[in-house]
Symmetry: C2
Subunit: 569 residues, 2 copies
């Protein structure tokens, strides 16, 4: 069978779908149009070009074997016709054609299709701020933006930068500017934390504290009201609380799907944007497929349509569309919602639902937070990793795991492992027994993921009662007024410096001596137990509970967590 395919959009999904189709059905023809001159680039690489990790912007548009993926490449190597600088203005579903317009010449034309792929992507969310058209105000959208930002910085024109938004792109750009170029970088975020909703306040604070050490300043709960400048160039950002000097502003307030053309063609589109597709990535018109950043897909945790604009989704969906264009029946079941972001020497990652998301979705959810060494404790390259697991108390279903760790692949590996089974609705016990390949350089004999689930088990069964570093901070900050008895369960030499700084409030009974020295421990106070990571304080909690102590709290993740969280004791 030979057919003609039109693809609207030449980045990520479009090329992937087109190339897959051409491999399966070489006799068919493809026309791919894009309104830009630049196609098939790795937009996710922009922060790494700005930082200098990627030396030349052209690398973002190259294959892994250094061929530039331009119109000529697609024609010669892939057999695909590409029309750049060509905007699709209307889809005529009856006539099965796409009306297009050359953005340079204004010339109009119409391209017939047998099947159509809508791969129009997304656009940065604009905030309609006064002054957002000043020179130096940027969105992070395509390699041209990247080149412009890096050029201004490398010419020494930028002493201070303001980033609006503390999501993925905002944080990646903050790292790029502060780390590599020493630009005074301030992030203004409307919510109270980085990566809002995606991770808990405790994990978010750990990431924030690490970025602050790297020179990034954060202002939370704050909104930008205007951008001001001189001679057409930005100089200041005005928020509802302060004025910030800035020679560069990056607006990273998320993206919105480019789904207007689909909506105007009468395809099913969400009220707030985003094309609806079925599991074959087909719209409600069987001859029209859509995928990537312009689409909504099913969230496998909630069964609701969700928006997850990631290059990885576009690539996988693109292959599926290519297969189905050629008569296949390949399915995209939906997404779990995994993410990862590098923050200087650390990483933050997650999958499934955060506690906030789970509670909002109606689950009877709790979370436990654990800080533990990421491989055998005697292995020299070990590092601390913090993981938080969200579970439903009544069904014991694991709803999500989020984490904060070093910048290597150890943490994201654990997150991917959980992600792989989340759609099977695993219980705590499934993760307690998930098989992590064991050898001391790569894992602990009881791996952190197994321990995390064991910990959740103990919490759900009511054996372990605890607070995270945020809960500890609240108790500690109010230590003068509350009746808490802070008991350090580590050995004396570890506890002593803290006791010296806090002679009234910090007490020490090593966990191994709790049985023998129980008379020193008051029964009438709220006991707050802490050790390095929470393991010994958990044991102490059990010993005390067995001896009639009723009011005992264990600090999840122990000193390691509160240090990452930024609490000084």
């Amino acid at each position: 069978m030979s057919q003609h395919i039109v693809v609207i959009g030449g980045v990520a999904l479009g090329p992937k779908a087109a190339c897959r189709l051409k491999r399966l059905e070489p006799e068919s023809t493809v026309t791919m149009i894009d309104q830009s001159a630049l196609i098939s680039y790795g937009g996710c690489g922009i922060p790494y070009y700005v930082s200098g990790d990627v030396s030349d912007a052209i690398e973002l548009s190259q294959t892994s074997f250094h061929m530039v993926r331009d119109a000529k490449f697609f024609k010669e190597v892939k057999g695909i016709d590409v029309q750049i600088l060509t905007k699709a203005t209307r889809i005529d579903r009856e006539k099965k054609c796409v009306e297009v317009e050359n953005v340079t010449t204004g010339e109009k034309a119409s391209i017939n299709y047998d099947k159509l792929v809508i791969a129009t992507g997304a656009s940065p969310r604009t905030l309609n701020l006064p002054g957002d058209d000043l020179q130096g105000v940027n969105y992070v959208c395509n390699p041209d933006d990247a080149v412009r930002i890096r050029e201004a910085i490398s010419k020494g024109q930028v002493s201070n930068a303001v980033i609006v938004g503390a999501g993925f792109i905002g944080l990646e750009m903050a790292e790029a500017l502060a780390d590599m170029w020493g630009v005074g970088t301030t992030v203004v975020e409307i919510t109270e934390q980085i990566m809002p909703r995606l991770v808990s306040p405790a994990l978010a604070t750990m990431g924030q504290k690490h970025m602050e050490k790297g020179g990034v300043t954060f202002h939370f709960g704050e909104t930008v009201t205007a951008i001001e400048g001189e001679n057409g160039k930005v100089t200041r950002v005005i928020t509802n609380k302060r004025t910030l000097d800035a020679e560069a502003v990056i607006i990273a307030a998320g993206v919105v799907p480019n789904s207007d053309i689909a909506k105007e063609a009468g395809l099913n589109v969400h009220d707030r944007g985003g094309v609806f597709v079925d599991e074959f990535m087909r719209t409600n018109d069987p001859d029209i497929y859509a995928g990537g950043d312009c689409c909504l897909v099913k969230n496998l945790m909630t069964d609701q349509p969700t928006y997850l604009p990631l290059g990885s989704m576009a690539n996988r969906q693109g292959r599926i569309i290519g297969t189905n264009l050629a008569g296949g029946e390949s399915r995209f079941d939906g997404v779990i919602g995994s993410f990862v972001v590098k923050l200087f020497e650390t990483s933050m990652a997650g999958t499934g639902m955060s506690l906030e998301m789970a509670q909002a979705a109606g689950f009877d959810a709790i979370s436990v937070l654990l800080t533990q060494i990421d491989r055998a404790h005697f292995y020299p390259t070990k590092e601390l990793m913090t993981l938080e697991m969200v579970v439903d108390k009544s069904t014991r279903q694991v709803l999500g795991v989020q984490g904060f760790g070093s910048a290597g692949d150890a943490m994201v590996g654990r997150i991917n492992t959980v992600a792989a089974i989340l759609k099977t609705k695993p219980t705590i016990d499934d993760i307690s027994n998930v098989e992590i390949a064991y050898s001391p350089p790569f894992a602990a004999a009881m791996d952190i993921l197994n321990t995390l689930a064991n910990f959740a088990d103990n919490a759900v069964c009511g054996i372990s009662h605890g607070v995270g570093p945020d809960g500890f901070k609240e108790l500690w900050d109010n230590r003068e007024s509350n009746e808490c008895y802070f008991l350090d369960c580590r050995e004396k030499p570890d506890a002593e410096p803290v006791m010296e700084r806090n002679p009234e409030h910090w007490h020490n009974v090593p966990q191994g001596e709790v049985r023998q020295r129980m008379d020193e421990i008051p029964k009438d106070k709220q006991l707050v137990l802490i050790c390095n990571t929470g393991a010994r304080s958990y044991e102490a909690q059990i010993t005390l509970a067995a001896n009639g102590y009723e009011n005992v709290i264990n600090v999840h993740g122990g000193m390691a967590s509160i240090k990452k969280y930024g609490v000084e004791v």
Copy 2:
């Protein structure tokens, strides 16, 4: 409820089960006996102590907070009685007691139990070689062995060492000796490859070549017939093919379960050793549990009993036994068979079945091998990773994945991800769409795991025909006699050096020029297409197939694979 528990064996599973029980049921009492003086050590750390990565052997017996896990620790901190140097000689199930004997004094006693845990572990397989009692001949069993080996080496008494067996322990010890101490290290292995059965010959050869660069010599298909010495000390190892000088010999021929005491008590034990347990880790006597290295567990891929002596299994099973001793109903469903081993700057890992195992189990199995960059190709810290996926052709079930990569956590993370879902019997399509958290520093937009499954899909569908590096080597070695036409699909500057070395046999048409230059490519020969990693040669294969070429082979993993495999072209 208060009960008395007896645990036979004080390493890994025994302590774990005992401690978990004591946390759940503090009022119960536990007696843990071990015939050795040393308990609760991390035996898996021995190679890292020998190498010097772990500086002091005591670290292997410490908790992560540097407390030595000795009898005093268990008594004071855990409330567990430990009797060291105490050998269990018989289990009397009727009287519910264990007869014991002090190995120093010979004193005998009997310990009653309400419930019993058999955690007798495993012993190194002895080969009954003449001379295996000479000084300098070692098994890798407990920290005492480790101390003895390292002492001899650090005193300069060892110039050459022979290791018998190329499994995990043999390879870890080979690295320890060659890498850290510069000892001339030779591994003698009875089969034809390292890690026999667990990985394919292709992956095994990649690991072997890397270890050879590190100074390790291998002799495959060879058996040790005798060990010889002078003045009671080893000096030579005699094989069926040669004599090797050696001042140290390490016998690493696997381990056998210590299940005699269970068998003598009438418990169900496999003919070749290994206690049978149910999913609650219970033997056929409901008051007797067993776990860890003395047991067989269910292989979830084959539903057959299998032997997987790993510290991680012992720890997880130990917790389950502890829970069940306290009246719980915790289950150990079985094992997938994941493993990982560090080999100098690389790692080898796998899960599920290798091709050999799958074919032996009756599956209509094939495998595909892929070499690809482990994160975004423009990200500076990228590395090559090789993965092999084993699938059933008729059902498309994924049976296993094995890999060879750098020594970081990137590859084992992919293996763990697949392992997590293997028991759900995933198809190729499930792995094509497995959700890998995406960001350029951590993954490619189309991650290697997704690509691997896509590649398997293409192979099963008959779109891609190929050979691995082993198949290529055979074709290349016979290039004078066979009718192969080796066609390099890379750009000319990449292909030119190989063409100059092989003007008769090596040809070049860049993939992008295949359509235009098809008349240069013979139709009557067996075409062997190769590029850097196999992606462009796959495209070329499709183009040629669409134009009537019938005899075209693609080299899986391309130049990257054959280089790792050690083929020079």
